[in-house]
Amino acid sequence: MNHSFARSFGMRTILVLVFAFLYIPIAVLAALSFNEGGLPTAWSGFSLKWYASLAGNSAILSAALNTLIVALISTAIATLLGTLLAIGIEMRRQYGKGLEALIFAPMIIPDIVLAIALLSFFSMLNLTMGLHTIILAHVVFNLAFVCSVVRARLKSFDWSIVEASADLGASAITTFRRVTLPVIAPAVIAGALLAFTLSVDEFIIAFFTAGAGRASTTLPMQIYAMIRFGITPEINALATIVMAVSITALTLSQRLNRGIIGQ
């Protein structure tokens, strides 16, 4: 029918325009990272030299290492705490709204507020700030995200099999290892990947809790410092790598746990 043809044509146009809007800016950025010339003015040939120059930039390499340390440790802690929290909550038949709000809060508090709160807190305690304080801070929001992913999985969990396992004489630990864990494992891994991605990308809280000095500069802090000086092909190359890493981690996470982003 003519009407439905016009309608589906309209729908397709909207999709094309929206996806163009979402992807053209990052595609241009990625394309320019392979530009020989190094200026945004004109394409002058394919080159990998900006990637090579990244590999020789010690400030970026040390920032990348710091980011990796922060992301790995905070993800490990958050995955453990967040998973236990999720099981603890879902085990209960009822819980208060306050508990729900407390767990939801780290996901919605503006970053800048949590950042200054932690800065005030750490300096009041006279704590020397560095990578360890960034890790403490990142666990706060990471555990909330892990918890929400694992809880979604536990919603359909049949707790009677846990009771059955206990009735058959299995210890709490054996029951967890042999019954609960296999069911929630994909969600735990998906949650961990999500936490890792968030931690790798997090800038504001890290910026405020890193303390003085360049020793604990993370990759987003380094990127922010570089961006403020303007456009360089080197940032384009770095940005392309960072995007590729987070997009890969997220795609993996999505495949492991269908629906965490499609919810």
Partner: protein
């Protein structure tokens, strides 16, 4: 061990972490807002309300209004584009919907700074847009698009659009197609059907998306700093300055609390909108039952 006590034991480490590193620090900021700034930038522990008074000082109130305007404009644009996109995705064949949704959300999970930087690359004087204009025969001065309010708004819309798409898609995909058919059969035009049937049923999604964009935009400091070139102060920048340059922590704390207050107000408005929308649905349901 009983189930509740085992549950408490499992939750304890995470809740302790949140208490020590979120609740206590936030309470500390709240307390800080009631103290005075010391002469040398430290904190003087005498009770005062003047930090909150300063928030309403015309100079700062102006920045609040400015932030609200920028965040409001970004929210409006993001909701219109995001709703249209969600509508188009929900109208696509079933098996394609998850794929479209995944690719709509994917950019959202890449680094925020990089997504903002991509707009510097696009909008700078020799960027893609200038190149395109030249290609179409434009010969004048390159337009200055970067470091304008428009650039800040574009950056905010770009960064938060995926969430609006997600939030609007949820109710749109659950919409019963028979409702729209019934409305058409009863003689309503497509526009009326949309306005009277589809839109009210999807208000919760719009509200959730709008709240998200507004709250994140109004507290943002990265986008105004990078795309506004520091010319457009928003609340986030103001908080940043008090803590890292002006060294007036009590005032910065008061500003942060004002930000939280705005956020809570907006969340309450959202809950109200969602309630009213569900009331609307119940009424419609009650009509058919009765």
């Amino acid at each position: 061990m009983t189930r509740p006590s085992r549950s408490s034991l499992l939750m304890a480490p995470a809740l302790a972490w949140l208490a020590a590193l979120m609740v206590v620090p936030c309470a500390l900021v709240l307390a800080l807002a009631f103290f005075r700034r010391g002469i040398y930038g430290g904190i003087e522990y005498t009770f005062t309300l003047e930090n909150f008074g300063l928030v309403f000082d015309p100079l700062y109130a102006g920045i609040f209004l400015n932030s609200a305007r920028i965040a409001g404009t970004a929210t409006l644009i993001a909701v219109v584009i995001g709703y249209a996109a969600a509508y188009a995705i929900a109208a696509a064949p079933r098996r394609w919907q998850p794929v479209f949704l995944f690719f709509a959300v994917l950019p959202f999970w890449s680094n925020y700074l990089i997504r903002t930087y991509a707009w510097i690359v696009l909008l700078n004087r020799e960027g893609l847009i200038t190149q395109l204009l030249r290609w179409f025969g434009y010969t004048g001065e390159p337009p200055s698009m970067l470091y304008t309010e428009g650039a800040v708004i574009a950056g905010l819309v770009y960064n938060y659009l995926p969430f609006v798409i997600l939030a609007c898609y949820a109710p749109l995909s659950r919409l019963n197609p028979e409702l729209a058919e019934a409305s058409r059969d009863l003689g309503a035009s497509a526009a009326t059907t949309f306005r009277r049937v589809i839109l009210p049923l999807t208000v919760p999604g719009i509200a959730a998306g709008a709240v998200f964009v507004f709250v994140l935009s109004i507290g943002n400091f990265v986008t105004p700093a990078l795309l506004g070139g520091g010319r457009f102060q928003m609340i986030g920048n103001l908080v940043y300055d008090q803590f890292l340059t002006a060294n007036d922590w009590p005032f910065g704390a008061a500003l942060a609390m004002a930000l939280i207050a705005i956020m809570l107000l907006v969340l309450m408005a959202q809950a109200l909108a969602a309630n009213r929308a569900s009331g609307h649905v119940t009424q419609a349901g009650g009509g058919t039952d009765g």
